[in-house]
Amino acid sequence: MSTPVAVYEPFRAGLPPLGAYLRSLWARRSFIAEFSRSELREQNYGSVFGQLWLVLNPLLLSGVYFLLIYIIGGQSDSTRYGNLTASLFLFYLVSNSLTGGVKSITAGQRLILNTAFPRIMLPISAMVIALFKFVPTLAVFFVMRTVLGLNYSWQMFWAIPVVLIALLMGLGMAILISCINVYFRDIASFLPYMTRSLLYLSPILYQASDLSDRLRSFEIANPIFYLLDAWSQVMVYAQAPDLFSLLHSLVWALAIFIIGTYFFLSRERDFAVRL
């Protein structure tokens, strides 16, 4: 009697064999890319500007928030504006992963009910879409910071680890929230308020150094506060980020990713009957 290729037994919460899971996920990498690309194109389908919206969105966004801080703060030096745009764009990488991820499982119902594939592919696509949206904003930012006359330095290569941490954070959040949404659909309605609060709690419309020490100590609970601070140090001031900021964001990103992935993988075989 030969050994079976696959055995299906009653669902128990627990991790699937990780090696086989990762292999089948890797085998589907081109599907993830193609799926993400088509979802992204669908979002701008039928609009006059089409894919140009990928650049127009960040431009308009930074313009609107600039108006806000100019009117409220009454001042606008170039670093402040640089901080606003740089942080806003990285914030949207994380928040787009969240908003794209939340319904990735529930919207993928047809796919889930009719094909066997590693379900984690769907929140991964949400993160890939957020990344596709983030890349053009980087180009916009570099044009802006040149116009603003901000300095360049080799220290700016620190941007690479910071973006990697942000991607891990976005991925972890997408995975976690997509799974929560299967069991608690109301989370999708809460999400806009959560991301909006995160926006105001993070150093985007203000700079991290503007906060009092007491408030800053509370921000340890904000997963992206020090991530955005590190990003601003690198992208606006062209300095190396401080170690604490890097570590703080890395620990948060890892924690969210590990918890989210564990929760997701141990539950995903149950998704098909819950949709």
Binding site: S2, T3, E9, F31, L113, T115, A116, R269
Partner: protein, 271 residues
């Protein structure tokens, strides 16, 4: 010699009559909510009493079924008999509630047409999307693309967005993509009745081509004539239970006697 690589390569061979799928005492129960008025008030009330407004549905009950390589198994039964549930359990989409399923080979499912398709994209882009969703590689699709496009008979429309397609065109392209995958075990659920009479016949012939000694086919259909024509074994499910299994003509006869549709020609119209 039995090769049991999980790869989808065409070269994987299975001795005829080797076991492909073994379904052992499988049961599947769903819990569905039966709230008449799913309001917050009702939810809060039931929280206090610890009473759950749910109903347990026995979709499958103690099903035992072995499918060997070289077999074309037809699965019949009335609506709600558990046919689709069984297919989902075999393909690993839904875990069984009881029992065990062993699968000895790569499985491809054709449970619904156009899974993974994105209507905003062109037919061409969707061939890639659908093919990748079905587990093919990009290189395989490149290689098969012309054959898929030819089979779908879409002509120039292949480069138009799929939202401009008629439902028949949509189904034709979806079937063409799905029929190109060459798995060890192919599960087809109600996907044969696509398009017009001409295309139906064409897709039926395609399924017949897929019948080889080193492949197992499982077809779910209400079209008894098709089942009798294509399959060499039939399993009849009723309310989650396996009622009979064996020679197509005999099982279909039993099924017809059971449902009293033997005389009605309308029941056999769908090919």
């Amino acid at each position: 010699m039995i090769s049991l690589s999980a790869s989808k390569s065409l070269s994987s061979t299975h001795a005829a009559h080797a076991l492909a799928v073994s379904v052992q005492n499988v049961g599947l129960t769903y819990t569905t909510s039966i709230d008449n008025r799913p309001t917050l008030k009702a939810r809060l009330k039931s929280l206090g009493h610890g009473k759950k407004h749910t109903r347990v549905v026995n979709a499958l009950n103690q099903v035992n079924l072995d499918v060997h390589y070289g077999t074309v198994l037809g699965v019949i039964g009335s609506n709600g008999a558990g046919k689709s549930s069984l297919m989902r359990v075999i393909s690993g989409i839904v875990p069984p509630s009881q029992g065990r399923v062993e699968v000895h080979g790569s499985v491809s499912t054709l449970l619904a047409l156009g899974v993974g398709f994105n209507p905003s994209m062109t037919g061409r882009a969707n061939v890639y999307l659908g093919g990748l969703a079905a587990g093919m590689s990009r290189a395989e699709i490149d290689q098969q693309f012309d054959a898929i496009a030819d089979f779908s008979e879409l002509g120039d429309a292949i480069d138009a967005p799929m939202r401009t397609y008629s439902s028949g065109m949509y189904a034709r392209l979806a079937f063409s993509v799905a029929a190109t995958v060459q798995p060890d075990i192919l599960i087809v659920d109600e996907a044969l009745s696509t398009g017009d009479a001409h295309f139906k016949e064409k897709s039926l012939n395609r399924i017949k081509e897929l019948r080889t000694a080193d492949r197992a086919l499982i077809l779910v259909s209400h079209a008894m004539a098709t089942i009798e024509d294509v399959c060499n074994e039939v399993a009849w499910l009723h309310k989650g239970k396996l009622m009979a299994r064996g020679n197509p003509a005999e099982v279909i006869k039993q099924y017809r006697e059971f449902t009293n549709t033997g005389k009605s020609s309308a029941a056999n119209e769908d090919v």
